[in-house]
């Protein structure tokens, strides 16, 4: 990365933090409340509206049912809060639905919970941001045409805040959350006081709803109730976030959860009551537009406008509502990456989700979440009513699984008072299961079917990833495929020459120094034959001309490989001259890139890359020069067959010094590596180096520079064990580190990289 790029990244994201600074990001309750509760609190902004929308379809008299329905939703909310307080106490290390279900109910329920949660988080971002933009549009009509653009902009804003890290976001988000709580109570209390002398009426009170379109049946009541349960979304956030609290973590988290429940229920009931006494009507936005010719305001906006007759307080309330909704998305940005990292640790998602970025946050999870949410907003054209149809299925699946898991937990532990706890959680599970059924039935046609279909797809994907990782693990430990103590065979070399130049002469020098059994050159242009014979008269040359250069090279390599025994190594050397130190250079040679990746898929073929920057060529040297010293480093992550094969390979390079290096990201994993190294008596030194800023490529580069390679007398060879899988779609699960390292080392003088592929059979 160039200096300018690095400076820009620092300006946007902040300075890189070392792994140890993680500890300092623990949160006090006052900051934790806004971080983990903005989602739950903000749903007050649209829960009442969703109930009115359903009841309004039936007719004016049906609207009277808003209060009993709100009370029912409020009771359900308190049941769920009480239930979750137990989870927080039982799981101080964070008890998201996935962990609880996985530990107590088994793998499949765990994955069901995980996929529901992942979908839920994406929808939280989409729904919250769109609802927030609705609040803005309600206050400044005319902007509704740009809803999609504004929403996507806010998603990006929250994503960047989160890439910076959780503590900074905490301070940033405290003000809007407390501002929203204040403004809601101000609205409810003022509304109540005004009602003592006759309630103000909402602007939509005289809206002509058809008196009675259809009979008010049980189904409609259930549907309205299901719609109102959006008030429950986000309650679970605290249970995921216990480790982010200050000590005593469980107690602080449980207290925060109780505060959250109290505030949330009182605000929701207050708003629902006001909507009833002020006779607020709410229609589908499209219908409202057709009926009246102007855009519809949200329910909160109508109430606030009615109580304060417009004016600064009305705008204050709208701004706070928009702010908390947009920042509610933040809850998902804290939880999605964390869940993804846990799933990656359990091998259900690609390993990359475990990597912490510059600022100690799980950057990959944040970026994926922002992308998916933006897509959803765009596809649904920022329509809140449509998005919300998808929302509740995932929420209630995870509630139900989490509570059921807790029942099993109490049965297993038999702690003091476990029966009482089991009954509380059992009741919670039963209630949320009933609501889940209602939600699926009433919202299926409206969009919930999308989620119902997506969940099994996600589960299948996660199982397939898991199966693959497990297969790889078994194969890498398989004693019959263990190359250790297998006497390495002979080493054969093919040099691919696209030009007889300084890089080629370095390749010749390298091949001579390693005393390979035999060396062959391939030129692609017959005109290169003469200069080649001057450079390396002892090395036989094949001229490969034909339609496709890659096919020609491949043919020679395959012929050669067929003559060798299984224990022999066949290294294909690819010397290349790079014009500039820019990353563009990588794309300037698509043919070389394609050649390398084709060769890597060949069994028993290793690819050695000798890059040389144009400006580093010494014009006074026109002969091949044998390096006097060759330091070989095998990059390892664990003791397994691929590592052992790479070590065997490195031995046959006849380096002056050979050692394995590893860069510690996870202290436990590196300690395991060290102990296994000693246990298996690997006959080479191993160095484990800390990478405090979690940038393996950079740490490796700094490590290698201390050997001061010049490419002529002193060469550093980096041996990278890589995996070749049978199914192409699995390739993304491997070699990401190797890829990064190769790209970074490409421009470093005197460093040669070798990929030693390990072919997985997955039988």
């Amino acid at each position: 990365m160039s200096n300018a790029q690095a400076a820009f990244k620092r300006l946007v994201l902040g300075r890189p933090m070392s792994s140890g600074e993680l500890e300092h990001t623990l949160l006090p309750k006052v900051i934790a409340l806004p971080i983990f509760s903005s989602d739950a609190l903000s749903s007050v902004a649209y829960a009442t509206q969703e109930i009115l929308l359903v009841l309004g379809l039936v007719g004016i008299s049906a609207l009277a049912h808003v209060l009993p329905i709100a009370l029912a939703v409020g009771s359900l909310l308190s049941i769920v809060v009480i239930s979750y307080r137990q989870t927080v106490r039982a799981y101080p290390s964070g008890g998201g639905a996935y962990i609880v279900a996985h530990e107590n109910l088994g793998v499949f329920p765990g994955l069901l919970a995980a996929s529901s949660l992942l979908i839920d988080y994406v929808l939280t971002v989409a729904v919250s941001v769109v609802a927030g933009v609705d609040a803005i549009v309600s206050a400044s009509p005319g902007l509704e045409r740009y809803s999609v653009e504004i929403s996507v902009g806010f998603v990006a804003f929250v994503a960047i805040a989160n890439l910076r890290g959780v503590r900074e976001s905490g301070t940033l988000f405290a003000i809007p959350t407390y501002g929203f709580i204040f403004s809601m109570y101000l609205l409810i209390v003022t509304g109540f006081v005004k009602c003592l002398g006759g309630c103000p009426t909402a602007e939509s009170a005289h809206l002509a709803l058809k008196p009675e379109v259809s009979a008010l049946g049980l189904f409609i009541l259930l549907k309205a109730f299901a719609a109102g349960t959006t008030a429950l979304t986000g309650v679970e956030a605290i249970s995921n976030g216990v480790p982010a609290f200050r000590y005593p973590q469980s107690k602080n988290a449980a207290t925060t959860l109780a505060i959250l429940g109290t505030i949330s229920i009182s605000m929701f009931l207050g708003i629902s009551w006001l909507s009833h006494v002020m006779k607020v009507r709410y229609l589908d936005t499209a219908k409202f537009l057709a009926l009246t010719g102007h855009a519809e305001r949200s329910v909160i906006a109508q109430i606030a406008y009615g109580v304060f007759h417009g004016g600064p307080i009305f705008y204050f309330i709208q701004i706070m509502t928009a702010a908390i909704l947009i920042l509610a998305a933040n809850t998902a940005f804290a939880d999605f990456p964390r869940l993804a990292s846990i799933l990656a640790r359990d091998r259900f998602m690609p390993r990359q989700f475990m990597n912490r970025g510059d600022r100690l946050v799980f950057s990959n999870g944040i970026i994926i979440l922002a992308t998916l949410a933006s897509l959803l907003v765009a596809v649904f054209k920022a329509n809140l009513n449509h998005l919300i149809q998808l929302y509740l299925v995932g929420v209630f699946i995870s509630f139900t699984l989490s509570q059921s898991g807790m029942v099993m937990h109490w049965k297993k532990t038999h702690e003091r008072g476990w029966q009482r706890s089991a009954i509380i959680n059992g009741f919670g599970a039963a209630m949320t299961a009933v609501v889940l059924t209602v939600v699926v039935i009433t919202k299926f046609a409206g969009g919930a079917w999308i989620v119902v279909c997506a969940i099994p797809i996600l589960i299948t994907m996660m199982r397939s990833i898991n199966k693959h990782y497990e297969n790889v693990r078994t194969e890498l430990a398989h004693p019959q495929r263990r190359p250790l103590d297998r006497r390495p065979g002979n080493h054969h070399v093919i040099i691919v020459v696209s030009n007889v130049d300084a890089a080629t002469s370095r390749a010749v020098g390298y091949a001579r120094a390693m005393r390979a059994a035999d060396v062959t050159g391939i030129v692609l242009d017959p005109a290169d034959s003469a200069p080649w014979h001057r450079l390396a008269p002892e090395i036989p040359l094949r001229v490969a001309t034909g339609r496709s250069e890659i096919d020609n090279v491949l043919q020679v390599v395959q012929q050669k490989r067929a003559d060798l025994t299984e224990d022999d190594f066949l290294t294909v050397m690819i010397p290349e001259i790079l014009e500039s130190q820019h990353l563009v250079e990588v794309f300037r040679h698509p043919r070389t890139y394609r050649l390398k990746s084709t060769l890597l898929r060949q069994r028993g073929v290793q690819v050695l890359d000798i890059p040389l920057l144009r400006k580093q060529i010494d014009p006074t040297i026109d002969q091949a020069h044998e390096p006097a010293r060759n330091y070989a480093f095998v990059l390892v992550s664990g003791v397994h067959n691929a590592t052992l094969q790479a070590l065997e390979y490195a031995e046959t390079l006849r380096p002056t010094d050979l050692r394995a290096v590893s860069f510690g990201l996870d202290p436990d994993a590196t300690q395991r590596l060290g102990d296994n190294w000693l246990r298996d008596r690997i006959p080479h030194p191993l160095e484990i180096e800390d990478s405090p800023f979690r940038d393996i490529a950079l740490s490796l580069l700094q490590y290698l520079r201390q050997f001061r390679p010049d490419g002529l007398d002193k060469v550093v060879t980096v041996v990278l064990p890589e995996f070749v899988v049978t199914k192409r779609r699995h390739q993304i699960l491997h070699n990401q580190t190797a890829l990064l390292v190769k790209r970074r080392l490409l421009f470093e003088p005197g460093i040669v990289t070798v990929s030693v592929p390990y072919h997985l059979s997955e039988s």
Partner: protein, 124 residues
Amino acid sequence: MSVSNVIEKLGRSPEDIRAENLRRWVTSINEVTTIKDVKARERTRVAGVIQNIRIDPRNGRDAIEATIIDGTDRMVAKWLGRASLSGIQLGMGLIMEGVPGAGPDGMLVMLNPEYVLVPGPEHG
């Protein structure tokens, strides 16, 4: 945070900030010498964070080396004949006492020092 504070923070490299945190941590430990003030062949007590672990099973005896840094310099602890790392981890704090000698590359090495492992400043 003031503007000048921000500019100052942007100007300093992350490595500098880390070294400063390490120095602050070391001063909180009793009776240790900062590594840059240590002289060879004099009994001393130092503390630092494990930055590198080296395992060398060659020559028939298992040698384990841990390089510690304290924000001023680095020093190596070397144990012979150990069969496992047993707690020696990257990022852990290591307080050790012994007589250091000069190693092959000029770095100070303490052979089989008396030591305690403590949580580092960076790991809880």
